[in-house]
């Protein structure tokens, strides 16, 4: 049985045939512009939400090849929102879902980590973390997700004075630190978590590490300016 992988809405087999052809053609017969058009057509024809989302992801990739980054981003968001997690066809496209989620998470980093947009990106970061086993995502690929999620947890902890969210933030910061022990940005984040949790001993320890590795003195002054928790049992 050919096209057995396809669980979309087209029983005639035309859509999977076109998709299979597009996937096999590594920019030989189709110019990048033609690929964009072909995937736009597939998005238009497909009625199943999950396969539509898959084609939107492919369209985003094709747009990326043409350096049409804003359009690529828009299509990634559209794909992320189109995936139907309840639909019977979802398991067949879970890899694309994980990939889309991860690409969006990376977008937040590439855009300079705008804190005012963090909440918009957090679901994508969490989705990548929860579905990483369905995509070729390695642990170092997830570092941005740990950082973004951790930042969200810390902001929530500070806003609502919630210690458990502070602990969630710390878990993310520690995971990041263990993967990149000399990264001063990760150390600053770790410092902020310990500061929130009023763990003076560990704040001092992280500060000492920052003095050691922050050669540019970009993060150390920020940490020092935040002060230290009061003396006492930690």
């Amino acid at each position: 049985m050919i096209f057995e992988w396809y669980r979309g809405s087209d029983s005639s087999g035309e859509i999977p045939k076109r998709y299979a052809f597009l996937r096999q053609d590594p920019y030989k017969l189709f110019s990048p512009e033609k690929r964009v058009e072909a995937f736009q057509e597939l998005c238009r024809l497909e009625q199943d939400a999950n396969y539509k989302a898959l084609f939107l992801y492919e369209l985003a990739m094709a747009l990326g090849k043409l350096d049409r980054d804003e359009e690529m981003s828009a299509k990634l968001w559209e794909a992320f929102e189109t995936f139907d997690l309840l639909g019977a066809s979802f398991p067949h496209v879970a890899e694309a879902y994980a990939q889309v989620a991860w690409l969006l998470a990376m977008e937040w980093l590439e855009r300079g980590e705008p804190m005012e947009e963090l909440e918009r990106y957090v679901p994508a970061m969490f989705a990548a973390l929860v579905w990483w086993d369905h995509a070729p995502i390695k642990r170092w690929d997830l570092m941005g997700c740990w950082y973004g999620l951790g930042r969200f947890f810390l902001v929530s902890a500070q806003k609502h004075a919630d210690r458990t969210f502070g602990e969630l933030a710390l878990l993310c910061a520690l995971r990041l630190h263990r993967e990149a022990t000399e990264d001063p940005k990760a150390l600053l984040f770790l410092f902020e978590c310990y500061l929130f949790l009023e763990d003076r001993r560990r704040c001092e320890k992280v500060l000492a590490m920052l003095r050691e590795v922050d050669a540019e003195r970009e993060y150390l002054p920020q940490a020092e300016a935040m002060g230290m928790p009061a003396e006492g049992p930690s």
Binding site: V122, P123, F126, D133, T164, L168, L171, L190
Partner: protein
């Protein structure tokens, strides 16, 4: 190199040697509990928190395998409190940390009748399991119960703080749980709650259809009937 696994504070190797010898005896003994005072002495002597945690985790695992659940849980919880990922010795015991978090949070504690913990206490443990899962052979697909705990924790905070972002995190966690166990009415109900708050009316309708097929006792269907369907969101 022997005792290469040891990353503790004792440079003489004495603690590592004593632990190794004791572990051998504990595994052979029919009454491993009788040897616990010796293990406690090693724990008391060890200065490194991660190695202390490792020894406690070892005792917990052994007791767990012998079906001594209440005592095993005590050791796992003590280990959990000792682990310090900031210390240099942590990478050597990361696998034990991951297992400890998983064991402390799991529903098996209900078996021993000492489960006075709730999602607030378990959520950090489950997040740790998720964050460290790539270091082990455990994938999120094996973390069903834990994803459920995270979903419930996020949902309660979402309700308290009126946060749609946390509702989204709930939906993602419970959807993953649902995809691993499609007929579980509990995960369907959490998914319903999150979808309700997010104004996903069609999803709520579909969840009710699924509940009609799998909620044999009707518990969650009653709840769904009481909640009703959300108004569609404008956006």
């Amino acid at each position: 190199m022997i005792y290469d696994w040891y990353r503790g504070a004792d440079a003489t190797g004495g603690i590592a040697r004593r632990f190794q010898e004791l572990a051998g005896r504990m595994e052979r003994a029919t009454d491993a509990e009788a040897l616990l005072p010796e293990l406690e002495a090693i724990v008391a002597e060890e200065q490194d928190p991660n190695m202390r945690a490792y020894f406690l985790w070892y005792a917990g695992s052994l007791l767990y395998s012998r079906n001594k659940m209440a005592l095993a849980l005590e050791y796992f919880l003590r280990a959990y409190r000792e682990f310090d990922p900031l210390e240099a010795s942590f990478p050597a015991v990361a696998h034990a940390y991951h297992d400890t978090c998983s064991k402390c949070s799991g529903d098996w504690s209900e078996l021993v009748g000492v489960d006075d913990r709730d999602a607030v206490e378990a959520a950090p443990m489950e997040l740790a399991v998720l964050l460290w899962s790539q270091q082990t052979s455990m994938t999120p697909a094996m973390q069903l119960f834990g994803l459920g705990i995270l979903a419930v924790f996020f949902l309660r905070r979402a309700e308290d703080w009126r946060s749609l972002t946390l509702c989204e995190l709930t939906r993602i966690a419970s959807a993953r749980e649902h995809r691993c166990d499609t007929e579980s009415p509990i995960s369907l109900w959490t998914l319903y709650e999150a979808s309700y708050y997010l104004g996903r009316r069609k999803d709520c309708e579909r969840i009710v259809e699924m509940l009609e097929k799998v909620d044999y006792q009707g518990t969650y269907l009653q709840l769904a009937a009481r909640w009703g369907l959300p108004k569609p969101r404008a956006t």
